[in-house]
């Protein structure tokens, strides 16, 4: 293998470059990144960066270029595996005998709001800068979606002293991962800190003055005045550029157990990769997955075969309202949740998710040390 094209220059792309070099690949690497920035860390965008406690320079992920050619501010517009070529938006054609797809995704937007100012999503540094500019004193913020991003944005907005309403269509936030009891506990974090939390009700429409959003109308008829709306309602994998490539795409790039696509010289990593795990295809939208998957994907790319299986740690963290939440394993597969340390009432505890008596997942709140031990004792569900 002489040339590897890494398409995507966020964490998964950078980690792929790093793994290529550390696993001994000394050929040409071309990295294509749609954003104009060198790889940066996204998690602070909803937290310290949005708060103003970190600058863009603080987010830089690496000071090295790994002897790669970085095409930043450039999109990949087509992949032709038969000739091993990646067509770029600049017209350049990169000939590569190996391709790493690390294009991540785009935030899901609320239909009909594209032209409405004041309605935001948050994924990129640009998104964060634009949002930050609107979080001025007195701004009334409505967050749609009480998942991780929504919760963190709400927390940051409260820290900035803003009035915040969180709207969540589900009766309990993140119940699928946390279960009803701990999901409800996470909801309590919002109300503990003065957020007006509206659960079990969806958004009907947005009120506006022709240019800017002025409010959010809920399905129950409630009108919430709003100067800023942030939608944290998930993401879509960025696969449009793969049309006509012959790769199987279905809610992500379909891969085998080792992140190898139907073409052995093409692997996928990070948010965009939907790989085979436990008899089905799964996709993760988390930092740790984007950091860990390239180890296996690159090994299999260089080996020319899916020799190694990717085993997800399922690790997620979130900082909200001064509380550190950590989650690992496959909590969705549990039939029992047991608090093994501390107390949820004190906002400091660790809980084990068990299946047939075996620990399969762990959630900790302000209990990092024990969390580290418990997660190492988890049993894989599948």
């Amino acid at each position: 293998m002489r040339t590897v094209a890494v398409v995507g220059a966020s964490l998964a792309g950078l980690r792929s470059v790093e793994e290529l070099r550390s696993q001994g690949f000394d050929g040409r690497i071309v990295v294509v990144g749609e954003e104009p920035h060198a790889p940066y860390d996204r998690p602070p965008l909803s937290k310290a960066f949005l708060l103003g406690a970190q600058t863009a320079a603080d987010l830089t992920l690496s000071d090295e270029d790994f002897g790669a050619e970085w095409r930043l501010g450039v999109r990949a517009s087509r992949l032709d595996p038969s000739t091993g070529s990646v067509l770029l938006s600049t017209g350049e054609v990169v000939r590569a005998d190996g391709v790493v797809i690390a294009t991540g995704g785009r935030p899901r937007t609320v239909p009909g709001t594209a032209s409405l100012r004041g309605v935001h999503t948050l994924r990129t540094l640009y998104d964060a800068v634009v949002l930050q500019g609107e979080l001025v004193p007195g701004a009334r913020v409505v967050v749609v979606g009480a998942g991780w991003i929504g919760a963190e944005v709400a927390s940051t907005c409260r820290a900035l002293g803003l009035d915040v309403t969180v709207v969540e269509a589900a009766a309990i936030p993140m119940e699928r991962f946390l279960g009803p009891v701990l999901g409800a506990l996470c909801a309590d974090l919002h109300t503990d800190h003065g957020v007006d939390l509206r659960l079990g009700v969806g958004v009907e429409s947005f009120a506006h003055n022709g240019k800017r959003v002025t409010g959010v109308v809920l399905r129950d008829g409630t009108h919430l005045p709003a100067d800023v709306v942030v939608a944290g309602i998930g993401m879509e994998p960025a696969t449009d550029w793969l049309a006509g490539s012959g790769l199987a795409v279905d809610n992500g790039v379909l891969c085998d157990h080792g992140c190898v696509t139907s073409i052995p010289s093409v692997v996928a990593v990070g948010d965009v990769a939907r790989y085979r795990h436990g008899g089905r295809h799964v996709r993760h939208e988390h930092w740790t997955n984007a950091s860990e998957q390239p180890v296996v994907a690159v090994r299999n790319l260089l080996a020319g075969t899916s020799a190694e299986t990717y085993r997800p740690s399922g690790y997620v963290w979130s900082d909200q309202y001064g509380v550190r939440l950590q989650l690992a394993g496959e909590t969705g597969g549990a039939d029992e949740v047991v608090v093994v340390d501390g107390s949820p009432d004190d906002r400091r505890f660790a809980a084990e998710f068990r299946r047939a008596g075996h620990p399969v997942g762990v959630l900790a709140m302000n209990d990092a040390k024990l969390f580290g031990r418990l997660r190492r004792g988890l049993t894989a569900v599948s």
């Binding site: 950078l14 980690r15 790093e18 860390d41 998690p43 602070p44 310290a48 992920l61 690496s62 000071d63 930092w287 740790t288 950091s291 963290w317 550190r324 950590q326 990092a368 040390k369 969390f371 580290g372 031990r373 190492r376």
Partner: protein, 105 residues
């Protein structure tokens, strides 16, 4: 020098945080004592709560790993080293040498 704790209070594999000008984590790695800055250079997390394996401590938040002997990170996401401090054991007590600002009798 600042006092960390009694040797008996820091068994193998354990850690303690002491406060000088900054928080310092003291580890017992297989019988050897090491002191480093407690705060990860990547993001705000306490390394004393990390996972200790040999002479490496893994940050509890993002799995950045630091060598206790040198303070150097061994992998991303950390890029900068944590400071290391000499550790002195005298009469069954562990002290951290922070450069002499806070003398201990």
């Amino acid at each position: 020098m600042i006092t960390a704790c009694a040797v008996d209070d820091l068994p193998v594999g354990e850690s303690v945080v002491v406060t000088g000008d900054v928080a310092i984590a003291v580890f017992n790695a297989d019988g050897e004592f090491y002191a480093i800055d407690d705060t990860c250079t990547h993001q705000d997390a306490s390394l004393s709560e990390g996972w200790l394996e040999g002479c490496l401590v893994e940050c509890p938040l993002h799995a950045a790993s630091f060598d206790l002997r040198t303070g150097l990170p061994t992998c991303l996401p950390a890029k900068r080293a944590v400071r290391t401090y000499p550790v002195v054991v005298r009469d069954g007590v562990i002290y951290v040498d922070t450069g002499g600002q806070e003398a201990v009798a």
